[in-house]
């Protein structure tokens, strides 16, 4: 395995995981702030355990699937996932939809738990724990999908997993120090970048799954990424103009 082959997988897994882990961390922190660290830690641990179970159960199945079918299925899912992110990031960059605001999400989750507290004071610990579990499980599933998508089929599962783990370690380290939502992460910029990379991987894998021999092999990914970046920027620029015209 060469660094040039592993670098795109590591970078994509790291950046995409960074976004997901920041989202999960915001909700876990809201739970911990309102109800203490016990339900937050229990919910997080339970979420991680369910995730580990899913990975252990489904991971070995990946080896049983023919490589071209795996590439095609993962390629299509990556295309849909990546283009969805890129579309939203372009619309956010154009000011059509509001930027993702971790402070606002933190406030919303805290308010929701406070409402829950007024209604059901006794079982609030459960509600808080389940909120943390849900956040870790849902965002974690996205991380697992991204790691599988960029790592499977090319023997890059370990580098992709390391990229995701590095993102978790970074967010948790910063979070442990600052103890507040990581609102200064340039999330839309990250999502734009990750959308570009996932879409590029999506076209690459889908093409390989369909039997297309891309010229330059992995190097083609760089061209695809550049083209998706250009398309995203053109889309954002056109959307900005349309917003002004229709306003």
């Amino acid at each position: 395995m060469t660094w040039s082959a592993a670098a795109p997988a590591v970078t994509a897994a790291f950046l995409a995981s960074l976004v997901e882990v920041v989202e999960a961390f915001t909700i876990v922190l809201a739970v911990a702030t309102l109800r203490g660290w016990r339900p937050a830690a229990l919910g997080t641990t339970a979420g991680l355990a369910v995730l580990a179970g899913i990975v252990l159960l489904l991971g070995p199945l990946l080896d049983a699937i023919p490589i071209t079918s795996l590439q095609l299925a993962i390629g299509i899912l990556l295309l849909l996932f990546g283009m969805g992110w890129l579309r939203k990031a372009s619309l956010r960059a154009a000011g059509i939809i509001p930027l993702h605001d971790e402070d606002a999400i933190f406030a919303t989750e805290t308010a929701a738990l406070s409402d829950e507290a007024r209604r059901r004071r006794q079982s609030l610990g459960w509600a808080a724990g389940i909120t943390a579990l849900k956040a870790v499980l849902l965002e974690g599933l996205e991380v697992v999908f991204i790691v599988i998508a960029v790592g499977a089929g090319r023997g890059l599962m370990v580098p992709a997993s390391l990229g995701a783990l590095a993102a978790c370690a970074l967010v948790l380290s910063i979070g442990a120090v600052v103890h507040r939502p990581l609102s200064r992460v340039p999330e839309n910029l990250l999502k734009f970048g990750v959308g570009v990379m996932l879409s590029a991987f999506g076209v690459f894998w889908t093409g390989e799954g369909l039997g297309i021999a891309w010229p330059g092999q992995d190097v083609a990914l760089l061209l695809f990424a550049a083209l998706f970046l250009g398309a995203g920027l053109i889309g954002a620029s056109l959307a900005r103009r349309l917003r002004v015209e229709f306003a």
Partner: protein, 61 residues
């Protein structure tokens, strides 16, 4: 989980249709497979821009 992949229904359907057309070109015609690849790549770029512009028009109007 479904929301992960189906962000916008029309874009999702269009991408799936594009993959089907590109796959048919590669499998059932004598054309160079790169033509199918080019269609897939540039089709996705066009669909992305179209989807962003359509959402912008809908959002702004």
């Amino acid at each position: 989980m479904i929301g992960m992949f189906v962000g916008e229904k029309r874009l999702t359907m269009a991408v799936l249709a594009l993959v089907a057309v590109a796959g048919s070109l590669v499998d059932f015609t004598d054309l160079n497979s790169l033509i199918g690849g080019g269609l897939l790549l540039f089709g996705c770029l066009v669909l992305l821009i179209e989807s962003v512009c359509r959402s912008a028009r809908a959002g702004a109007s």
